[in-house]
Symmetry: C2
DNA sequence: AAGTAACTGGGCTTGTCAACCCATAAACTT
DNA sequence: AAGTTTATGGGTTGACAAGCCCAGTTACTT
């Protein structure tokens, strides 16, 4: 069986659209009810497609979950984000980024769309681990790039470590999301994100010292 | 049926021991395989008890999961901890606390025993939410108490907010655990915890200023 | 000695759900 | 016109697991 091994099955524009529609629907359902509580039949009904369409684009459930993981990772990394905060290369952009997650009802109910998904799935299906690791890695790269740019432009001191700081922000977000979801209160998320932002401030160049850039950042 | 409504079914010492044994076994299995992937039969076999024993102590699966949640929350809050770090009322104690989670293989595989459990269960079973919230609250109280003690003893400045800082530490831990589990690398956890500890240092009283206590803390 | 709790080891029903197969038809590409 | 992709709508199978019932035995307590 050579066809099953080759995933390079080309899809037409229409097929791509249907597939994307199924993924979006599945992602929404899974975000609300969890993976284990979302059957293929649920997705099929919500998406308004036939059963054979599901098995056409996703031969088994794992492949669908994989697609949802990739979809959520894209969203986290800002790939198909509507808001214009593409690059986190200024401190103000990180503030905007953090604030974009506050005052949102869905956060209290479902936590992080990516984090809650992978947390549920990580133990039950080891074969999804690579997809999960890659999703985190892509997300981390977004922070790393922005923080490196801040350091190189003189907004942050030379001793600011983009790798360490990226982990600080990622953990503050994911942990804050989990705590907010668990307590049904956004205070943990707010405090964690503000803590990370305050911590970042400690890496600002000290005033009076000569710095390369005049730092017009907020 | 009056008996089912009254949960005050007294257990003998032996019964308590068996129940605890089942809970510990279930907690271990669930930590490795997740809730959905751990059947009652699995627990039964691993614990070496009969099927009726399970239904005797836990009429349904939810009650068993509830017991495991409480068990893991106890562990997180240091209730049945072997190591002597009962009170986190010194900065050094927080360092010890953080280090106790590093260099551990189980963390890379399973993440936080409490966090990964509640993350999996939170969406599938809404009735467990109160148990989860209470577990987080007990854990938070541990940090709050220690940080308040630090502030009151002059180890931290007056403007150090124990509530905010508690959330910072909790989020750093939970987020770091999730990231470490996802990346199979403890670096995210280490960076997140060290970030929180560094951030705490910024709340030390500045040298040269008069402080109430001489601050013999590390 | 009575009563109750702790325990064994089955079996049975019911439901859910993933995976699979079928016949058929419209739409698009070349 | 031929071939492929996209689609419909059902049916079936097999596995697994939760909840439940039953017929007993052992051990502790009072």
């Amino acid at each position: 069986m050579p066809t099953t091994d080759v995933p390079a099955r080309r899809l037409t524009t229409k097929g791509e659209a249907t597939r994307a529609h199924i993924v979006r629907t599945a992602a929404e359902l899974i975000y609300v009810k969890g993976v284990q509580n979302t059957s293929n039949e649920d997705v099929r009904k919500a998406a308004g497609v036939s059963g054979s369409q599901l098995s056409h684009y996703f031969p088994d459930k794992r492949s669908m979950v994989r697609a949802v993981i990739a979809y959520r990772a894209d969203a986290l990394s800002g790939l198909h984000r509507e808001a214009p905060l593409g690059e986190l290369d200024r401190v103000a952009a990180l503030h905007t980024w953090a604030e974009s997650y506050l005052n949102r009802a869905d956060v209290l109910a479902g936590g992080c769309a990516f984090g809650s998904l992978v947390a549920e799935v990580m133990k039950s299906d080891l074969e999804l681990h690579d997809d999960i690791a890659e999703g985190f890695e892509r997300w981390r790269e977004m922070f790393r790039r922005g923080l490196t740019a801040m350091r190189d432009s003189g907004v942050l001191r030379r001793d600011a470590d983009p790798d360490r700081l990226a982990h600080v922000f990622m953990a503050a977000y994911q942990g804050g999301m989990l705590l907010a979801q668990g307590a049904r209160d956004e205070a943990p998320l707010r405090d964690a994100l503000n803590g990370a932002l305050d911590y970042l401030e400690t890496f600002r160049p000290r005033r009076g010292r000569a710095v390369t850039a005049p730092s017009s950042d907020r």
